[in-house]
């Protein structure tokens, strides 16, 4: 029992550390990538001076995130005179916590056998094995949507309780936009659920390590390329970033539902946004890009097309899986930032029309085609 607790704490620590690191590093990645995309240099002045020396560490401006965080912490925590100070105080946390909770069901590695990893622990752990995720739940995807829906409450609460018309407008926009895209998000994934026949994310990843047509890795993006595009679009709309950043449109609403927030409360909203980029990337990786596995790879090693088998030690498998997951997530994050710095903001009516008149029918059509195909394949195989 205590072993499970230890492993649980280790996994939670890893997941939290990874998310926080992603949240901080993504601010830097966003700045630098945007700068390089537009022929600029980007933030490169903040430095950390080694005490008692004149050596200044710049590290390509990596410390700008640190400086920003410090600034957020030290700024005045301005509070509007609102009729509901408790809701005002709790809203940033309601926007921030569910984002973290979503990660609980996402597997960031395959199966971990502690006894095989460190022989000295075999007496204590026996032959127990643990899937590398915080909670392996049969209803994993449902949990993702459940907690994803809670972020709306945070945004609505923030807009309502700051007694500011700009905030209220932003909150209403956030509410309608997020509910619309939540629906599309769910519909796009139904096709995938039909194919894999499960909601358990670990099982989905394991099913993606096979091959189809003899050589293609059986990734979700190969089965459902259409759903992949719809999913990443809807997820970006869900995250309220630039092509869809209507709730906080600076030129219209100052900062939308967090107009009245300052200091670290505002920082929490920003941090939640950046962590959500990583969460979306992790979900996309898990569902469409083969999760923590390299192509042709499973927990025992590689099985290349042509039945060429490479066995790997448990150490190598664990390290490769953890690294693969990180690299894939970072790549998808980078893609999201690329989109954010490429497209201009949509108009509000366009955003909702895009959701209901374009993406919703497409997602339905995708689901219908997938259902027919799965049924036909089932009939043929029976």
């Amino acid at each position: 029992m205590i072993q499970d607790l230890v492993i649980g704490v280790v996994f939670i620590g890893y997941a939290l550390g990874m998310l926080m690191t992603f949240g901080t590093v993504l601010t830097w990645v966003e700045r630098k990538q945007a700068a390089i995309m537009s022929d600029r240099i980007g933030a490169n002045r903040a430095y950390v001076r080694i005490p008692f020396t004149q050596i200044k560490l710049v590290w390509l401006g990596l410390f700008h995130g640190l400086a920003d965080g410090l600034k957020m912490l030290l700024k005045e925590d301005f509070k509007p005179r609102t009729y509901d100070p408790y809701a005002y105080a709790i809203a940033p946390w309601l926007a921030f916590t569910p984002v973290l909770l979503v990660f609980a069901v996402i597997p960031f590695g395959g199966t971990l056998v502690p006894a095989e990893l460190v022989p000295g622990l075999s007496a204590w752990f026996g032959d127990k094995s643990y899937p590398m995720q915080i909670a392996r739940l049969d209803a994993g995807l449902l949990i993702v949507f459940a907690f994803g829906g809670v972020t709306i409450i945070g945004a609505m609460l923030a807009g309502w309780s700051s007694s500011n018309k700009f905030s209220l407008l932003g909150a209403l926009r956030a509410g309608s936009q997020m509910i619309s895209y939540e629906l599309v998000l769910g519909l796009t994934l139904l096709g995938l659920i039909l194919i894999y026949g499960t909601l358990d994310l670990t099982s989905i990843v394991q099913q993606q390590s096979g091959v189809i047509l003899g050589f293609l890795p059986a990734w979700g993006i190969v089965y459902q390329p259409f759903a992949a595009i719809l999913f990443i679009t809807a997820a970006m709309a869900e995250n309220r970033r630039i092509p869809f950043d209507l709730p906080e449109a600076e030129s219209e609403l100052i900062a939308g539902y967090f107009t009245e927030y300052s200091a670290m409360k505002m920082g929490l909203f920003m941090f939640a946004e950046f962590i959500e980029i990583a969460i979306i990337a992790a979900l996309f990786t898990t569902l469409f890009l083969g999760g923590y596995n390299l192509p042709y790879m499973s927990d025992s090693g590689f099985v290349f097309p042509g039945n060429y088998v490479v066995h790997l030690s448990h150490w190598a498998v664990v390290v490769i899986q953890l690294l693969t997951f990180l690299v894939k997530v970072l790549a998808v994050c980078s893609f999201q930032i690329l989109v954010r710095w490429t497209l201009p903001r949509l108009r509000y009516d366009q955003v909702l029309r895009f959701a209901w008149k374009f993406m919703f029918p497409l997602a339905l059509a995708n689901l219908a085609v997938t259902a027919v195909a799965v049924w036909a394949l089932g009939v043929m195989n029976a």
Binding site: Q33, I36, M37, D39, I41, I229, L338, W341
Partner: protein, 193 residues
Amino acid sequence: MRRKPYQRKAYWNRPTMTWWERVYFFEIARGIAVTGGVFLHNMWRWISGRKGALTTYYPEETRADYAAGNRGKHILTQRPDGSPQCIACNLCATVCPALCIEIDAAFDPEDAAHPKYPARFEIDYSRCIFCGLCVEACPEDAIRMVKEVPQLPTFDRGHMWLTKDELLNWNPQRDVAKPYPVAGKDRKTRGPA
């Protein structure tokens, strides 16, 4: 006779987008390809040790392409013996619209030709507007403007004063546009030579 119904004048063009463009998705993909291409191109330049941007890192680097007539900073011309040609007449300080030139005159009994000289000649670059009136006003051709710019970025206004030493830190023989008046070939001589 029936009149033709009034037709409002069209003040805008009919949308001329093709089907391909109206689908929107392909154009987005093309846009992402453009920005991604720029990113990869610049990133490759950064990775291979070159600069992926046209930006000049300002205080560390200065641009080489300042115009020849750029009024970047002041210099004080010197006599062949290295002393400033300035006679501390205060004309430049008087004409200066920004009131940023400060001169303390002093008396030098050794030099009979130029007994008055500036003990202190300082320009406040946080206030200077680079109009060049001081150059126009100077009767001795003692102050000129050159195209180079001083090292201005600083955390302290006090550091934005250029002192006499810095203003004299200039080699007059290099200025071919306005050659230094050689001794004995002066265009005009004032006072006892």
